[in-house]
C-alpha cells in the first residue's frame, strides 16, 4: 500500500511537471493554432542556461535567467520565423517549428555533449517521511511550484487584459484584430510564456532522482506532447489532466516493472504514447478538446 502511495505521489509530481510542458503546447496552440514542435528545444535551452549559470551566480538567479532566456528565445522564434509566415496555414506553421527544433536541439545538444550537467538545485537527494511514505524533497518542490505556476497562469489567463486578449485571439483572430487586439504581441507573449513554463519544467525534469540535464532531456519534453493531445490541444484543463495522467501512468509502469515482463526495458518511456493512441481511438479530439463539427 505504501508502495502504491509512493508511486502515486511521485507520479503526480512528475505529472505536474508534464502539465507545465503541456500547458506550453496548449497556450501556443490556442493563441496561434500552431502545434509547437520546437517546444522541446525551448525546454532544453532553459535547462541549459540554468546548468551553465548556477555555479557563477547561484541557483535562484540562474533559474531566473533560465526562465527569462527560454521566454526570450520563444518570443524570438515567434518574431523571426512564425511572423514571416503569417499568411501560411497552421499546418505549414507547425511544420516550420519542426525545422526550428532541429536547428536549436542540435546546437544545444552539441554544447551539452555527452555530459550530464547538474542543475545545482537546493533540494539534492533529501527525502521527507510522511506517514511511512518516502518522498523526495525535489518531488514536493516540483508539485508545489508546478501547481503555483499553473494557478498563476490560469488566473492571469482569466482576469488580466493579456489573458482576455489571448482568449479573444483564440476565438476569432480577425474580429479580435478589429477590436484592437495586437495579434503579434499576443502570439509573441504566448510563445514567451510557453518558453518560461518549459524552463521551469526543465528544472524539475532534471532534479532528483534524475542526475541532471543531458541531451535526452528533450525526449522527456516530447512526452508532454501526448499529455497535451490526451487532454485536447485546445484545452488548458486538458493539459493538466493529460499531464497528471501521463505522470501517474509512467510512475506505475516503472513501479511495477518487476511484476510483469511487458513493463520492462523502458516500457515506461513509451507508455504515454500508448495511452495517447488508446485515447485518440476513443476520442479523436482528446478528453477535454472541442469537438469539431462538420457535415459532409
Amino acid at each position: 500500500m505504501t508502495a502504491l502511495a509512493e508511486l502515486l505521489v511521485n507520479g503526480l509530481a512528475s505529472g505536474a511537471v508534464y502539465a507545465l510542458v503541456a500547458l506550453g503546447f496548449v497556450i501556443v496552440h490556442r493563441s496561434t493554432e500552431v502545434i509547437n514542435f520546437a517546444h522541446p528545444s525551448l525546454l532544453l535551452a532553459g535547462g541549459y542556461l540554468v546548468a551553465v549559470l548556477h555555479d557563477d551566480i547561484g541557483f535562484w538567479p540562474a533559474l531566473g535567467a533560465g526562465v527569462a532566456g527560454a521566454a526570450a528565445l520563444g518570443a524570438l522564434v515567434e518574431f523571426v520565423v512564425l511572423r514571416r509566415l503569417r499568411s501560411g496555414s497552421h499546418g505549414t506553421l507547425s511544420i516550420v517549428t519542426i525545422g526550428v527544433d532541429i536547428v536549436l536541439t542540435v546546437e544545444i545538444a552539441r554544447r551539452i555533449g555527452a555530459e550530464v550537467l547538474p542543475l545545482g538545485d537546493p533540494w539534492g537527494d533529501r527525502v521527507v517521511q510522511v506517514g511511512g511514505v518516502t518522498i523526495a524533497q525535489a518531488r514536493i518542490a516540483a508539485l508545489g511550484v508546478a501547481v503555483a505556476a499553473i494557478t498563476v497562469f490560469l488566473l492571469a489567463f482569466k482576469y488580466t487584459s493579456w489573458g482576455v486578449a489571448m482568449r479573444a485571439a483564440a476565438e476569432d483572430r480577425a474580429t479580435a484584430a478589429l477590436m484592437g487586439v495586437r495579434l503579434g504581441r499576443v502570439s509573441a507573449g504566448a510563445w514567451a510564456v510557453a518558453g518560461a513554463l518549459a524552463a521551469l519544467a526543465a528544472l524539475f525534469l532534471c532534479v532528483f532522482p534524475t542526475p541532471g540535464l543531458d541531451r535526452a532531456t528533450s525526449f522527456a519534453a516530447l512526452k508532454a506532447l501526448p499529455a497535451a493531445v490526451i487532454g485536447g490541444v485546445d484545452s488548458t484543463t486538458g493539459a493538466l489532466a493529460g499531464g497528471l495522467l501521463i505522470g501517474v501512468t509512467e510512475a506505475l509502469a516503472v513501479g511495477y516493472q518487476d511484476e510483469a515482463a511487458l513493463l520492462r526495458g523502458g516500457f515506461a518511456d513509451i507508455a504515454p504514447y500508448l495511452l495517447m493512441i488508446v485515447v485518440l481511438l476513443i476520442r479523436p479530439t482528446g478528453l477535454f478538446g472541442t469537438r469539431e463539427l462538420a457535415r459532409a
Binding site: E33, G91, S94, V106, G266
Partner: protein, 414 residues
C-alpha cells in the same frame, strides 16, 4: 485542426478543374485529346518535345548505368543510400505533400520493411549469447513480403490516422516511431536487439548481390555488392517515381489534393474521402517498406537505433526542402538531405565551420543537421514550393504545359 497540410492554394486552379479545361496559355491541342488517341496521353505531345524528353531520359539512364564503372565505393554507397531515401521520400510526399496528412512516423514503416526482410531472409543463427530467428526464405520473396508487410502496417494504422487531422495526426504518427523502436529493441530474437543484425544479401536468379572473394569483372571493373546493387536500386527508384507520378497526375492525385484542400468539399464532390485517406497511407507505407529493404541491403546491418525520431524528421525535411507534393522534388530533397552529412564528413577538413574529430565545434553530422534544419525553415519561409519551385522558370514549354494540364499538383503551401 481545421486545416490540413499544406493549405489550399486559392489562387491556383483547382486540380479537378484545370485538368479538364484548356488553359489559354497552353498550346492548342495539349488540352484536348484527339479522338481515338493513344489512351490517356494526347498524341500531340509526342512531337519534338516528346523526342527531346525521351532522349534526355535515355541519356540520364545511360549516365546512371555508367556510374558503377567509374565511381568509387564511397560514392556508390552514398548514391544507393540516396536512392533508398528518395523512394521513401516519394512515398512520404504522396501522404504529406499531396494528401496533406502530416506523418512523422515514416521511420516506423521503414523499420517494418527492413526487419521483415531480415527476419524472412535470414537463416536462424546463434549470436552473442542469444538465438536469432530466421525463416531462410529466398531473398526476392522475402523482400516482396516485407514491402507488403509495411503496407499492411500502414493499413492497420489507418483507422487511427483517418480520425485525426493536421498536427494531431503528426503527433499520433510520432507515437508510432517510439512504440516501434521499443518493440525493435525488445524483440531481440528477430532484430538482434541493440546490436542489430546482419542483413542477408539479395540474390537474384542465383546471383548474390554481395561482395565476394573473387568478384565478377564487368568491362574491367570488379563488381562487388554495391556495384551490383546499384542497378536494381536505380530501377526500383525509377519504378517508384513513375508510379508516384501516375498517382499524382492521375485521378487519385486530384482526389487527394482536393481532400487536402478541403475535405468536406471533396466529400461533397463525390470523392470517397475515408477510402482515399486510408489508401494513400497504405501506398506511402509500401514505399517506406521498399526504402527500408533497400537501406538494409546497402547498410548490410540493421540497427534499431537508426529507425528513430531523427530519421523520421530527416524524411520530413527531405520532402519540405524538395517541395511538398512533387515527386522530383522529393527525390531532390532526399539526395540533398542524405548526401549532405556524408559530403561534410568526407570534405570536412576543407570547410571552415566543420570541426574534425576531437576538435571543438560542429561535427560533420551536426553541421549537416543544422544546415538542413536551416534549409527546412528557409524553404518554407522564402521558397514555399521547395527546390522544385525553382524549376519551372527555366523549364521547357512541354513540361510547363503538362504542369498546367495536370492542375499543377505541387501547389505552393501558402
Amino acid at each position: 485542426m481545421p486545416d490540413s497540410i499544406p493549405p489550399s492554394g486559392r489562387r491556383d486552379p483547382g486540380p479537378a478543374g484545370a485538368g479538364t479545361l484548356a488553359d489559354p496559355a497552353a498550346p492548342a491541342g495539349v488540352a484536348s485529346p484527339p479522338p481515338g488517341g493513344d489512351g490517356a496521353r494526347p498524341a500531340s505531345r509526342a512531337g519534338r518535345g516528346g523526342w527531346a524528353r525521351a532522349a534526355a531520359g535515355l541519356a540520364a539512364a545511360a549516365a546512371v548505368c555508367a556510374v558503377p564503372f567509374y565511381a568509387e565505393a564511397f560514392w556508390l554507397q552514398a548514391g544507393l543510400f540516396a536512392m533508398a531515401a528518395a523512394i521513401g521520400a516519394i512515398g512520404l510526399n504522396l501522404l504529406t505533400g499531396v494528401a496533406g496528412q502530416l506523418s512523422m512516423g515514416h521511420a516506423f514503416f521503414l523499420a517494418v520493411g527492413a526487419y521483415t526482410y531480415v527476419w524472412l531472409a535470414a537463416e536462424p543463427e546463434r549470436a552473442a549469447g542469444h538465438t536469432l530467428h530466421g525463416l531462410g526464405w529466398p531473398p526476392p520473396l522475402a523482400a516482396a513480403v516485407a514491402v507488403a508487410a509495411a503496407g499492411i502496417a500502414g493499413g492497420l494504422f489507418s483507422p487511427i490516422a483517418g480520425r485525426l487531422r493536421g498536427a494531431s495526426l503528426g503527433i499520433a504518427t510520432l507515437a508510432l516511431v517510439f512504440l516501434g523502436q521499443h518493440v525493435l529493441f525488445r524483440a531481440e530474437a528477430v532484430t538482434g536487439g541493440v546490436n542489430g543484425r546482419a542483413v542477408p544479401p539479395m540474390e537474384i536468379l542465383g546471383l548474390r548481390l554481395a561482395d565476394s572473394p573473387e568478384p565478377p569483372v564487368v568491362l574491367g571493373v570488379p563488381f562487388g555488392g554495391l556495384e551490383m546493387l546499384w542497378f536494381p536500386g536505380a530501377a526500383l527508384l525509377a519504378l517508384a517515381a513513375w508510379f508516384a507520378r501516375g498517382v499524382v497526375y492521375g485521378r487519385p492525385g486530384r482526389a487527394l489534393t482536393t481532400i487536402r484542400d478541403h475535405e468536406i468539399a471533396a466529400g461533397a464532390m463525390g470523392v470517397p474521402v475515408a477510402r482515399y485517406r486510408a489508401g494513400v497511407f497504405v501506398v506511402s507505407s509500401v514505399y517506406a517498406g521498399l526504402a527500408g529493404v533497400l537501406l538494409a541491403l546497402v547498410f548490410q546491418r540493421a540497427v534499431p537505433e537508426y529507425f528513430g525520431l531523427a530519421l523520421a524528421l530527416d524524411y520530413l525535411a527531405m520532402i519540405v526542402i524538395g517541395g511538398l507534393g512533387s515527386v522530383g522534388g522529393a527525390a531532390a530533397g532526399a539526395v540533398f538531405v542524405s548526401l549532405l552529412p556524408q559530403l561534410l564528413t568526407r570534405y570536412g577538413d576543407a570547410i571552415p565551420f566543420v570541426a574534425q574529430p576531437g576538435e571543438e565545434g560542429l561535427s560533420p553530422s551536426e553541421a549537416a543537421r543544422v544546415l538542413y534544419g536551416a534549409a527546412f525553415v528557409a524553404v518554407l519561409l522564402y521558397l514555399p514550393r521547395g527546390l522544385r519551385g525553382l524549376l519551372p522558370r527555366c523549364a521547357a514549354p512541354a513540361s510547363r504545359a503538362r504542369a498546367v494540364r495536370a492542375g499543377d499538383a505541387g501547389d505552393p503551401p501558402r
